[in-house]
Symmetry: C2
Subunit: 334 residues, 2 copies
């Protein structure tokens, strides 16, 4: 049987509550009795039982992480494991436990959240959503349960979120191209409904404007899925259209791989290409791809920070955090 607070009390010759007080250094206690209690704790090797502590009203100090089981995303990059590690770095420092669950789809995702909440285990939740998932957010808001989302919520007010600074990141990419003398820059992105696409496109436009370059809608592509073939098709479209272009930025490395393929097949030279996400492949291909590194670690760490801060200070207002990413220059922009 494990050592309980009671045995410590007896050993130290004090009452249960005194021991509890020493444990939480709540009210003032004589140094002397505090010493006696601490000695007893050491001697008996006492460790508090979190379960009992939680039952008695203390927060569980446990955070649940909900991961979408989108295999594509999962295999292609190390985003999730890095985000999870980021979360763990902050949470463990603060003495929090972490729970996780993979969910096959939206529905299951909500079910797990429900289970986390209902069971009483967790006191806060981190949503690790690649895209939007309003079902989860709504459920959490309806239940007034503390949570933070990594990614771009469609409605960012009244919720805690952490996201990349997509606007600035794309602006930096475009500025690089312009500094290299490029002017006719094509843009290939995901669905315009995604906030991440909107933000990156806005960053793109802002730099064009700053440099007095008129955006040409014929060079703008928004696709509903992320794939090499979409990138290939878009690039071919540009080429066939005859619109002049000297470079291509995309919101995902996958598009860029397709674009590079199209450029090679059609014999187009000197077209600079950039990607996004720094997928493993980007550094191995030839030419290697200039892309943007998402700081998943930092995203996770800040998500944990935000959540825990709100857990420990209930009347904090929800807030959002933008994390900067790193532009990685490689051969496709030389």
């Amino acid at each position: 049987m494990r050592v309980t607070i009671k045995e410590v009390a007896i050993e130290a010759g004090v009452s249960l509550s005194t021991v509890s007080r020493v444990l939480h250094n709540n009210s003032k206690i004589t140094e002397e009795t505090k010493d006696r209690v601490n000695k007893a704790i050491k001697k008996l090797g006492y460790h508090p039982n979190f379960i009992a502590s939680s039952l008695a009203g203390k927060p569980t100090k446990t955070i649940g992480i909900v991961i979408p089981n989108d295999s594509d995303e999962l295999f292609k990059n190390t985003f999730f494991i890095n985000a999870m590690r980021g979360i763990s770095i902050y949470a463990q420092k603060k003495g929090y436990f972490l729970m996780y669950s993979f969910s096959k789809n939206d529905e299951e995702e909500v079910r797990f959240i429900e289970k986390y909440i209902r069971s009483g285990w967790v006191s806060g939740i981190v949503l690790l959503n690649a895209y939007e998932n309003d079902k989860c957010i709504n459920y959490l808001k309806d239940n007034d349960f503390p949570f933070v989302i990594i990614g771009s919520p469609s409605e960012s007010k009244d919720i805690n979120w952490v996201d990349n600074n997509n606007y600035d990141a794309m602006a930096e990419v475009v500025e690089l191209l312009i500094s290299k003398g490029k002017k006719n820059i094509a843009f290939i992105g995901g669905s315009k409904n995604l906030r991440v696409t909107k933000d990156r496109f806005a960053g793109y436009l802002s730099v064009l404007e700053k440099n007095k370059i008129t955006p040409q809608s014929g060079l703008h592509f928004f696709r509903n899925s992320f794939s090499e073939s979409e990138g290939y098709n878009c690039t071919m479209e540009i080429i066939y259209s005859g619109i002049e272009f000297d470079s291509i930025v995309t919101t995902d490395d996958l598009y860029s791989y397709g674009a590079l393929k199209a450029l090679e097949e059609s014999g187009r030279k000197n077209i600079m290409v950039t990607g996004f996400n720094n997928t493993p492949k980007s550094s191995y291909i030839n030419p290697s791809l200039t892309t943007v590194e998402i700081n998943a670690d930092e995203l996770g760490e800040n998500a944990a920070r935000l959540l825990i801060e709100h857990l420990e200070n209930k009347n904090l207002k929800p807030s959002g955090v933008l994390i900067n990413s790193n532009l990685i220059e490689r051969e496709t922009t030389t």
Copy 2:
């Protein structure tokens, strides 16, 4: 406030214990009262409180996963995230919760295990060890706490483990080379103290023997660290030694990358090379690398199965499970 068992009891007009019995369909209960209770549960939207349930003596149905924060390993492949997903697939099916923690080093690893056990949260632990970590194993055994290890424990008896079938995997690789007419096959592996190295080397030897090929110790290399440069150095050594060789097998893709580099620099042609672990780079390089895919998902799933089976049946004997891997043939063996 959440709905408690008490409110259900009142609603159904029965006692607390009756509700509890219905929940666990323990002893016999009249269909009629069972119905009444179930209706009350539905009506009130009752969900059991796991915390209270655990305090009262039920198992927590929670598994702790300890992940080494070896950044090298973490970044280079998707092993961990896949193993974690594998674990989740089985555990979630069985209604278990999962906790995880990253640890910087052995010492911290033991500390987390200690915390998991002492806090009372978890009822079993999965060790996700890249290599051996006897400290953790010893601690767990000393405390007689249920656990399973993914990887190769140095002492496999009396503990639950899940590992790749390294012997067979390497045998398959060597057989492939022999089927391609290769005879003088070099072996580059990690430390001979590692069981994984021993097993793979044994698989290698077995096939040579089967094919009446005399192993040449001049072609066998065991290095203490996994890196491209080690692979490069070993290969150069072979070349300088003048010993005839027509192919190289390694126990890690990293060695193979170094080997390929050495072969190219020294202008050696027609040397087949194979790796291990199917790192992302292996499919992108030119020529692409023939390697062995570790089924991390399956490792995780079986680890969870083993642990949960032992959790639910205390007098089960510890056992080990070997998971088969897949040989991926690519250009370096054509």
